[in-house]
C-alpha cells in the first residue's frame, strides 16, 4: 500500500510510458547494526537513522511458500489476508486508518520469507497509532470467510492473467524443473487448482504455526533511539505467542542430467530460462561465485552475456545471469528473450558463453574491473533507509554475521581467478542444466 502511487491503474500500465535502456541492478555506506533477542525469542536488527523524521519496520517470518506442504498458495493467501481485517476492524477500516496517518503498510510472501512492513512518520502522534494497527494486523487477523473468498477470486484472476505472459510461464516452469520435489519447486501463488482447493481453516492453522515470536526477525531503520526501538518491538510483537522456529529446509539435490522443456505460446518472442541449483546464504563458495557471475552476466550493461548476446549480435533486449542464494541452494539462472526464429542461435550463444566461462574463467582484466564495480558501488547500496533495511533483514533472516557489510568488500577483493575457475568447475555444470523455452513457432 504505497500512498505515493498516484497512478496505479490496477498495476498494469506501469511499464508502458517510460522506456529504460535496460533493467537497472539494485543500488546501495557502513551502518552500525544493533542486534538483540527479546525474552520470547524475537531476533531484532536495528540501525538508527536520525536524518529523516521517519521509521521503517519489517517483521519477517519464516512463513513463505516453502511451508505450504501439500497446499501450494497457502503462505501467500495467509499473508494477503493479514491486513484484510484484524482486531475486529474491517479491511476498509484498517486501510482508512493507516492512510489517514500517512503511513504505508504492506504484506508480502515469497518462497522463504513472509514480510509485514510499515513506513511511518516518526512523530509519535502518527507513529504510535500506526504501530498499534501494525500489531493488530500481525497478531489478531480476522480471517473472515468473506474476505477469504474474495481474495481467492482475485488471485485466480491474477494467476490466469499470468498465463498470458511467456515470461511468467517460463519463470514458474523453471523452478518446477530445477527443484522437482523440493519445497522451492512450486509457485508462490500456487496454480489455479491449488488456490481453488485452499480452505480457511488451513490458513488459520498456518498462521498459528508460523506467525510466532521464535520464527520472527524484526528489522528497524529510522529516527528513534535504542530505548524507543525496544519499546517498538514489544508493542509490535509482544502479543505473539513464543512458538518455535520453522524447521530447517531439506537440502536441494543437484541435477543429474540435462532437461529441456519447450512450451508453445502465442507470442512473437521466445523466453529462455536456463540454470540449476546454485548456492546458499553463507556458502563457502559465495564470493568466487558471486564475483564470477558478475563478470559473466551480473554486471548490468557490462558483462560477457550482455556483450555476446546483445552488443555483438542484437539478439535480446535483456540478457543476464544471477545466483539467488537461499537457506539451501537457490537457483542459478541465465535468461534472455528473442524473436521466435532466433531462439536456437541465441541459446547457442548463451550456452557457448557459459561453457567458455566455466572452462577458462574471467580474464585478469575482467576480474579487476568487476571488483572495482562491486566495491566502488557498495556505498550506493546502503545510502538510503530502504537500502539499509533490506540488507539487515537479509542478515537477520539468514543468521549472517553482524559484520557482513563491513567485511563484504574485503572478501570481494580477495577473490582470485583460480578460485572462480575452481568454484565454477565444481558448482556449475552446463551439461546438466534445465532449459525452459516458452514462445511461438518461428
Amino acid at each position: 500500500m504505497d500512498t505515493r502511487k498516484i497512478i496505479r491503474l490496477g498495476g498494469l500500465l506501469g511499464s508502458l510510458l517510460l522506456l529504460c535502456l535496460s533493467a537497472v541492478p539494485a543500488v546501495h555506506a557502513m551502518p552500525a547494526i544493533q542486534h538483540w533477542v527479546t525474552d520470547h525469542g524475537v531476533r531484532v536488527y536495528f540501525v538508527p537513522a536520525p536524518e529523516l523524521p521517519m521509521v521503517d519496520v519489517t517483521v519477517t517470518f519464516a512463513a513463505g511458500s516453502v511451508r505450504d506442504a501439500d497446499n501450494p498458495g497457502l503462505a501467500n493467501m495467509t499473508s494477503t489476508l493479514l491486513d484484510m481485517g484484524a482486531a475486529g476492524l474491517s479491511a476498509d477500516e484498517i486501510a482508512t486508518r493507516i492512510e489517514s496517518l500517512g503511513a504505508e503498510l504492506s504484506t508480502v510472501a515469497a518462497r522463504e520469507m513472509a514480510m509485514v512492513s510499515l513506513r511511518s512518520l516518526s512523530d509519535s502522534a502518527y507513529l504510535q497509532p500506526a504501530l498499534a494497527l501494525f500489531a493488530d494486523v500481525m497478531t489478531q487477523p480476522n480471517f473472515d470467510k468473506k474476505d477469504f473468498e474474495r481474495e481467492r477470486q482475485r488471485k485466480l484472476v491474477a494467476i490466469r492473467r499470468s498465463e498470458q505472459s511467456p515470461s511468467a510461464i517460463a519463470g514458474y516452469r523453471f523452478f518446477h524443473s530445477v527443484f522437482g520435489e523440493h519445497p522451492y519447486a512450486h509457485r508462490v501463488s500456487g496454480m489455479e487448482d491449488d488456490v481453488k482447493a485452499l480452505r480457511l481453516k488451513q490458513v488459520k492453522a498456518f498462521y498459528k504455526r508460523y506467525y510466532v515470536a521464535q520464527n520472527a526477525v524484526v528489522s528497524i531503520v529510522g529516527d528513534l533511539d535504542r530505548k524507543a526501538a525496544e519499546a517498538l518491538v514489544q508493542q509490535v510483537t509482544g502479543a505473539l505467542p513464543a512458538g518455535s522456529r520453522a524447521a530447517a529446509l531439506p537440502p536441494v539435490a543437484d541435477l543429474s542430467k540435462a532437461n529441456e522443456e519447450r512450451i508453445l505460446h502465442p507470442s512473437t518472442q521466445t523466453h529462455v530460462r536456463m540454470g540449476a541449483p546454485g548456492m546458499h546464504r553463507g556458502d563457502p563458495d559465495y564470493f568466487p561465485l558471486y564475483v564470477g557471475n558478475h563478470v559473466l552476466g551480473g554486471g548490468g550493461l557490462v558483462s560477457r552475456l550482455h556483450e555476446e548476446v546483445r552488443e555483438q549480435r542484437g539478439l535480446s533486449y535483456s540478457v543476464n545471469s544471477y545466483f539467488s542464494p537461499m537457506e539451501q541452494n537457490g537457483p542459478y539462472l541465465l535468461s534472455l528473450q528473442t524473436r521466435n526464429d532466433q531462439v536456437d542461435e541465441a541459446l547457442a550463444v548463451m550456452r557457448d558463453t557459459l561453457q567458455d566461462f566455466v572452462d577458462k574463467g574471467p580474464t585478469e582484466e575482467e576480474l579487476v574491473s568487476s571488483k572495482k564495480n562491486i566495491t566502488g558501488g557498495f556505498p550506493l547500496r546502503i545510502s538510503s533507509n530502504s537500502g539499509i533495511i533490506s540488507h539487515i533483514n537479509m542478515i537477520g533472516f539468514y543468521d549472517l554475521p553482524l559484520d557482513y557489510l563491513d567485511t563484504f568488500s574485503g572478501h570481494v577483493m580477495n577473490v582470485t581467478r583460480e578460485q572462480i575457475i575452481d568454484a565454477y568447475q565444481r558448482r556449475v555444470s552446463p551439461e546438466t542444466m534445465v532449459t525452459v523455452i516458452v514462445g511461438g513457432e518461428s
Binding site: 500512498t3 505515493r4 502511487k5 498516484i6 497512478i7 496505479r8 490496477g10 498495476g11 498494469l12 500500465l13 506501469g14 511499464s15 508502458l16 517510460l18 522506456l19 529504460c20 535502456l21 533493467a23 555506506a29 529523516l52 523524521p53 521517519m54 479491511a91 482508512t96 489517514s100 500517512g102 503511513a103 511511518s120 502518527y126 477470486q153 482475485r154 484472476v157 490466469r160 498465463e163 498470458q164 505460446h265 502465442p266 507470442s267 512473437t268 518472442q269 548490468g300 552488443e311 542484437g314 533486449y317 535483456s318 528473450q337 528473442t338 524473436r339 526464429d341 572495482k372 564495480n373 566495491t375 566502488g376 558501488g377 550506493l380 546502503i382 545510502s383 538510503s384 530502504s386 511461438g440
Partner: protein, 455 residues
C-alpha cells in the same frame, strides 16, 4: 522490469521537495544546472535531461528519440562503443537511461568523488556522438526485441497503445514512445543523425545533481566539462493541438489473452495548458479520491465492496507537456463482464459529479501528501527525477515546492467542479481488450490488432 515500474511510479508521484534546497545555475551556453544537497551518504546521482521525446516526433519516425537513447551508448569520436559503460562500471557506478513522451534522460549513481567521471563522459556524448551504421543495425534489432517484450506480447500494453492512438487523432501524445514496428523497421542512420543534431545541445539540456556535494564545486565541474560545448539553434516543436472531440469513442482490441481488461480516458488539461491553475490540482485530488491507496473508492467499493472488479485504478499526470487524459482502468472479477465493470466506473464518476467528496477523504489525501514529502527524501534519485521532469517539460522546478500547498488548497467543491466539467462522454475514449483464445503454437500475434512483426 521491476525497475521500470518503480521509475514510472516515481515519475507520477507528485510530491514536494524540501523547500529552497535546490541551487540553480545557467551556463553561458544555455545549459541549466540544478544541484540539491543530500549529505546522508557519500554518494551522488547525476542526471542529464534533454527536452525531446516521442511527443516531439512525427509520423514515419516514431520511436526515434528512444532509438537514439540506445545509440548514445554506442561511441563518440573519443570513446569506442561500450567504453562509456565500462568506465562508469569501473568507477563503481550504476547507470541507465530512459525515454518518455516528453523527455530523454541519462543517469549515473556514483560515490561522490566520481562526479567528474560522469560529467566528462556526458559532455562528450552531448555533442560528439559518432553514429555508426554497423552499431545501428544491431541496436535497432535490440529495440525491436524491446518492443516485442513490452508491447507485442503484452495484451494490456497493446490495448493501451491502440487506446492512446484512438483518443488522439492529431496531437503527438498519440505516438508510442517505443515506436510503431513498421517505423522501426524503416528507420535509418540519417533519421538518428538529424534527431541528434536537432536536439542534443547544452541549451536543450538540464543537468540535475543530488547528493553529498557542494553546489559551487558542482558548478565548477560543470563549467569545465559542459562549458565549452557549442549551443544549437533549437526550433521548438509545433503545438499540434488536438481538435475538439465530437463524441464518445469506443474501440475493441482483440488479442490472445486470458483475462479481459478495459481502460478509459477523458481529455483534461494539465498544468501547462490549464486556464485555471487550480484545476489540475483538483484533478490530482480526484485521482487520489478514486485510487490513492487501499482505502480509496475504487478498491474499497468495486474491488472489495461490490466485487465487480478484480482490480481497478485511476491516474492523471498534471506535469505532462501537452493536454492528456484522466485515466481509469479495470479488470472484471470472474463473475462479471466488461460492461459491468465499465458501468461500475461510470457510477463512480457520476457520484463525483453529484456529491462533494467528504472532508475525511480530503484530509486523508492531504496527510498522505505531507507524509510522502518526507518519505521521498529517502531517495536521492527520486528527488533528482522530480526537478528534472518539471524542467524538461518547461515548468519551473519550484512548482515541486508548492505542490503540497496547492493540494491542500483544493476544496470538495473544486473536485466536484472538475468532475462535472471534464468527465463527460464527449471527451471520453474507451478501449476494451477482447481476449482471443490462447492457441498454443498458433501463428504468433496473427490477430493482434496493429502489431507489426519481424522480417
Amino acid at each position: 522490469m521491476r525497475s521500470l515500474l518503480t521509475l514510472f511510479l516515481l515519475l507520477t508521484s507528485q510530491v514536494l521537495l524540501g523547500a529552497g534546497a535546490v541551487t540553480e545555475y545557467r551556463l553561458d551556453n544555455g545549459l541549466k544546472l540544478l544541484v540539491k544537497q543530500d549529505h546522508r551518504a557519500p554518494v551522488v546521482v547525476s542526471q542529464v535531461w534533454y527536452k525531446v521525446g516521442a511527443s516531439y516526433e512525427h509520423d514515419g519516425i516514431s520511436g526515434v528519440s528512444h532509438v537514439l537513447e540506445h545509440m548514445m551508448f554506442k561511441g563518440t569520436d573519443d570513446h569506442p562503443p561500450g567504453e562509456f559503460s565500462r568506465i562508469i562500471s569501473e568507477n563503481g557506478g550504476s547507470e541507465n537511461a530512459f525515454t518518455s513522451k516528453d523527455y530523454t534522460a541519462y543517469f549515473q549513481r556514483l560515490e561522490k568523488s566520481r562526479l567528474a567521471v560522469s560529467f566528462e563522459l556526458e559532455a562528450d556524448r552531448m555533442r560528439n556522438l559518432h553514429l555508426q551504421d554497423k552499431e545501428f543495425q544491431k541496436e535497432i534489432n535490440v529495440v525491436m526485441e524491446e518492443r516485442r517484450l513490452r508491447t507485442e506480447d503484452k495484451p494490456t500494453a497493446l490495448t493501451y497503445e491502440q487506446f492512446i492512438a484512438s483518443a488522439f487523432v492529431s496531437s503527438s501524445v498519440r505516438i508510442p514512445t517505443i515506436g510503431w514496428m513498421d517505423d522501426l523497421e524503416n528507420m535509418d542512420l540519417d533519421d538518428l543523425q538529424h534527431w541528434y543534431q536537432r536536439w542534443y545541445a547544452p541549451n536543450n539540456a538540464i543537468v540535475v545533481v543530488v547528493g553529498d556535494v557542494e553546489p559551487e564545486e558542482v558548478l565548477a565541474l560543470a563549467k569545465k566539462y559542459f562549458g565549452p560545448l557549442k549551443p544549437e539553434q533549437i526550433v521548438p516543436p509545433k503545438p499540434r493541438l488536438e481538435p475538439a472531440q465530437k463524441g464518445k469513442r469506443y474501440i475493441i482490441v482483440q488479442a490472445p489473452a486470458e483475462v479481459p481488461y478495459t481502460i478509459m480516458g477523458y481529455k483534461v488539461p494539465v498544468l501547462k495548458t490549464a486556464n485555471e491553475s487550480w484545476e489540475p490540482y483538483a484533478l490530482e485530488v480526484l485521482a487520489n479520491i478514486l485510487d490513492g491507496g487501499d482505502s480509496a473508492r475504487l478498491t474499497r467499493e468495486i474491488v472489495r465492496g461490490s466485487q465487480i472488479a478484480s482490480s481497478a485504478g485511476a491516474g492523471y499526470d498534471l506535469y505532462d507537456r501537452q493536454a492528456g487524459l484522466f485515466l481509469l482502468d479495470a479488470t472484471p472479477a470472474d463473475s462479471h463482464s466488461i460492461d459491468d465493470v465499465q458501468q461500475a466506473l461510470f457510477a463512480q464518476i457520476q457520484r463525483l459529479k453529484d456529491k462533494p467528496v467528504t472532508s475525511d477523504e480530503l484530509e486523508r489525501i492531504k496527510t498522505s501528501v505531507v507524509a510522502s514529502n518526507v518519505y521521498e527524501q529517502d531517495s536521492s534519485f527520486y528527488q533528482a527525477m522530480k526537478v528534472g521532469q518539471l524542467e524538461a517539460v518547461g515548468l519551473d522546478w519550484k512548482l515541486a515546492d508548492s505542490y503540497v500547498e496547492n493540494i491542500k488548497a483544493v476544496t470538495a467543491e473544486q473536485v466536484q467542479a472538475v468532475a462535472s466539467k471534464y468527465l463527460l462522454d464527449r471527451y471520453l475514449t474507451i478501449a476494451e481488450l477482447d481476449p482471443l483464445p490462447m492457441e498454443k503454437g498458433g501463428k504468433p500475434g496473427a490477430a493482434a490488432n496493429g502489431g507489426g512483426h519481424g522480417h
